[in-house]
Each structure stands twice: as structure tokens, then as C-alpha cells.
């Protein structure tokens, strides 16, 4: 007597393949679109009203190779401590304003490094921008 063979191979349901494909597309899209947007927030005062209230505003002059605090050259390691000491007695953002004057040739990574230091010391940054205008005289 011959035994009948059972059919063991079963095809997967074709109706579900489009759903699987759709879910895979969504998965890859989400993976591709998630961009890290970590960083640092900064709220600069948009007028100089606050600056006028503070009698003595420390001025940081940032140049490509050196940094000056009120005209005196300051090593990178000392700047934060100096500013922290200055702000120790002062309360409120309006009394902790630092005027930052960056040389036009200063790179963004250097600017970020020093503004981070000033903000860690408790300072609020205001930018001092020198604008150059060229006039052609006949």
C-alpha cells in the first residue's frame, strides 16, 4: 500500500506583501529623516536699552589668535574665571551683560567656544558689530 505524501510547502499570503513593503518604506524614511538637532540656545537682546542700564560693561574683543578683556590680553583658561568673579556680586541678566566684539576674520567654531565660556560664567552677550561702508568718490 502506498502512503500519500503531505504537501508541506505553503506559499506565504501575497496580499500582505504590500503592507510589509509599506511599513519598510516608512521605517527607512523615519531613519533617514531623524537629524540630530542638538546645540545651544542663545537669546540676544535686540536693543541696547538693557546695556545702558549697566554702568560698567565688560568688553571682550575676540581676534583670530588672541582675546582681550577690556583691552588686556587674556589667556583662554583665565577668561571664564575672571568673568565669574566680576558677576559674583551682580544679580539679574541686565547687570551681567558682556559686549562681544569679534574680528571679522574670527571663525564660527572659535566664536562658539568663547561665547559658551561667557555664558557659562553667567554673562549675557551683546554683539558689537562694526559695519564698513564703501563709498566711491569721483
Amino acid at each position: 500500500m502506498k502512503l500519500k505524501r503531505n504537501k508541506l510547502l505553503v506559499e506565504p499570503p501575497a496580499g500582505a506583501s504590500s503592507d510589509i513593503a509599506f511599513i519598510l518604506i516608512v521605517f527607512f524614511l523615519v531613519c533617514a529623516s531623524v537629524e540630530p538637532e542638538q546645540g545651544r540656545s542663545q537669546n540676544l537682546p535686540n536693543d541696547d536699552k538693557e546695556q545702558k542700564e549697566q554702568a560698567e560693561v565688560p568688553e571682550v574683543k575676540l581676534m583670530p589668535n588672541v582675546v582681550l578683556l577690556d583691552g588686556v590680553e587674556m589667556p583662554k583658561s583665565k577668561l571664564q574665571n575672571k568673568l565669574t568673579q566680576r558677576f559674583a556680586q551682580k544679580e539679574g541678566k541686565a547687570n551681567r551683560i558682556v559686549s562681544l566684539n569679534a574680528d571679522p576674520a574670527v571663525r564660527y567654531d572659535r566664536w562658539i567656544e568663547y561665547t559658551s565660556m561667557i555664558e557659562t560664567a553667567g554673562g549675557t552677550i551683546t554683539l558689537q558689530i562694526e559695519e564698513t561702508k564703501t563709498k566711491v568718490v569721483d
Binding site: F22, S41, P104
Partner: protein, 142 residues
């Protein structure tokens, strides 16, 4: 004699659903990419103690070629080529941010080698629009 009513069965073909969903997805992806700036080339500066960006309505990019972009679209200045029109950027940001007092964050993505003469006017323009700047940076590993 009564004629029996014919019953018609009308059903939506379910096999087409996958294709419809796929086309809809492509449509929305293309729509979203119009405001996207992921195609722009720039390298972030490194810093410590970073925080995640809040909900933002606008992003400004300065790429490796020193060009300015607002929400992925290049900002042009017909009067002075290559220079930023600060007033124009401020006005565009004011329109995008609206009157709301909250959610006024603007993402700022600046290539790390960009000079101050290029990025400071952008910072000034964003501040003039009354927005909070979020510098997009890379975590520095010590």
C-alpha cells in the same frame, strides 16, 4: 410574472490600496523636502553640554560655500551679490514666526569655518526678528 432583482456587488479592489498608500507617501515626502535643508553641505562646530532644539518654525543655514539659506531656500541679494540683506531676512522671519510669543526658535546651522563677517549679520537679523537662536552643534567628546 415577477422579474427577480439582480444584485450587483461593488467592492473597492483591496489590492490597489498598497499602491495608493505608496503614492500618497511619495507625494508627502516630496512636499516635505521643499522646506528641508538636509541637502545642504555644512559641518557643525563642536561644543560641550548641548541641549535638544525646541519646536522651531525656521532654520537658517550658512553652507561650505558661504551661501545663506532660509528653510532650504537660498537667500539672494540682487543689490550686493554674496552679501546678506539683513532687513529682508528679518522681515521673512517675522512672517514665518508670526505674532506668537512662544515657539520663536530659529535653528542656526553655520559651517564651522565661516568667518564672523558672514555669520554675525545673520545673528543680528534673527535677534531683530525677536527670535531665540538655537545654534546647531556637535557634541565634543573629551
Amino acid at each position: 410574472m415577477k422579474i427577480p432583482k439582480r444584485s450587483f456587488e461593488a467592492s473597492v479592489p483591496s489590492m490597489a490600496m498598497g499602491d495608493i498608500a505608496f503614492l500618497l507617501l511619495i507625494f508627502f515626502v516630496i512636499l516635505a523636502r521643499a522646506q528641508d535643508d538636509s541637502h545642504l553641505k555644512w559641518q557643525p562646530a563642536k561644543a560641550e553640554e548641548l541641549e535638544q532644539a525646541k519646536h522651531h518654525k525656521a532654520s537658517v543655514v550658512i553652507d561650505v560655500g558661504n551661501k545663506y539659506y532660509l528653510n532650504g531656500k537660498e537667500l539672494e541679494n540682487p543689490s550686493q551679490k554674496g552679501k546678506l540683506d539683513k532687513k529682508d531676512l528679518t522681515n521673512k522671519l517675522k512672517v514665518l514666526l508670526g505674532e506668537a510669543k512662544e515657539d520663536r526658535t530659529v535653528l542656526l546651522k553655520v559651517h564651522k569655518e565661516t568667518k564672523a563677517e558672514r555669520f554675525e549679520p545673520v545673528i543680528e537679523a534673527i535677534s531683530a526678528a525677536g527670535a531665540e537662536i538655537h545654534h546647531v552643534l556637535e557634541q565634543e567628546n573629551n
